[in-house]
Symmetry: C2
Subunit: 125 residues, 2 copies
């Protein structure tokens, strides 16, 4: 994986399941992941870790509480970094392609275990 | 800067100088930077830090020694992570837009001081 050029279209093309991030690179102590989304992913929190979402196709809604500013909608070419400790969810009405950057230790569903939760091992497979 | 949606076209649109990265986000202990390149940036090494290059416009050549595999050419939608300790340079014959991800401590010209070197303070300005 490391020391290779990565073509994002090719990496996204290999994804067959929604909400199943795959690691495509590691920069220092963080993974770069690609994920396709459609539907809704449960609300959760990462107590100690920021999480970056960069949309390349579709439209991603990052839910936040009203107190935290309410939902953020990302179009292609836009990113948002969810700060540690902020409760959030993700949803998309159309198929959406997203690049995730987060620490190698981050579980994508944070403090919540859901049927959609994928282990780091599954994300590396 | 944090807790705001970032539109990359708008961020690149503000850049007026080549090889002058600007910080547009921070995810944990790494900065997300945008930079426009045209011409050649000197060879250098970051002894302890990986550096990610994601091209969104133009074409970026990352020079590596023959022993390290020779040059890597990135088109839009492609990225490469230069591992710590690997001597490299960057060059572009046409204006190229690049997203850089690297530790908050990284000087973009690594172990080399050149007239093109920008301090972290300048990158945050």
């Amino acid at each position: 994986m490391q020391n290779e050029r990565v073509n994002l279209d090719a990496a996204f093309g290999k994804l067959q399941e929604y909400f199943s991030p795959k690691v495509v690179g590691r920069v220092n102590d963080q993974y770069v992941k690609v994920t396709k989304l459609k539907g809704e992913f449960p609300w959760h929190t990462h107590e100690h870790e920021d999480e970056m979402f960069l949309v390349v196709r579709g439209r991603l809604t990052i839910g936040r509480s009203e107190q935290d500013g309410g939902p953020v909608v990302l179009e292609p070419g836009e990113f948002f970094i969810v700060p540690r400790g902020m409760r959030h969810n993700t949803s998309a009405t159309e198929e959406t392609w997203n690049i995730l950057i987060e620490p190698v230790t981050t579980t994508h569903s944070g403090d919540v275990q859901s049927p959609l939760t994928k282990s780091i091992a599954e994300q590396l497979a």
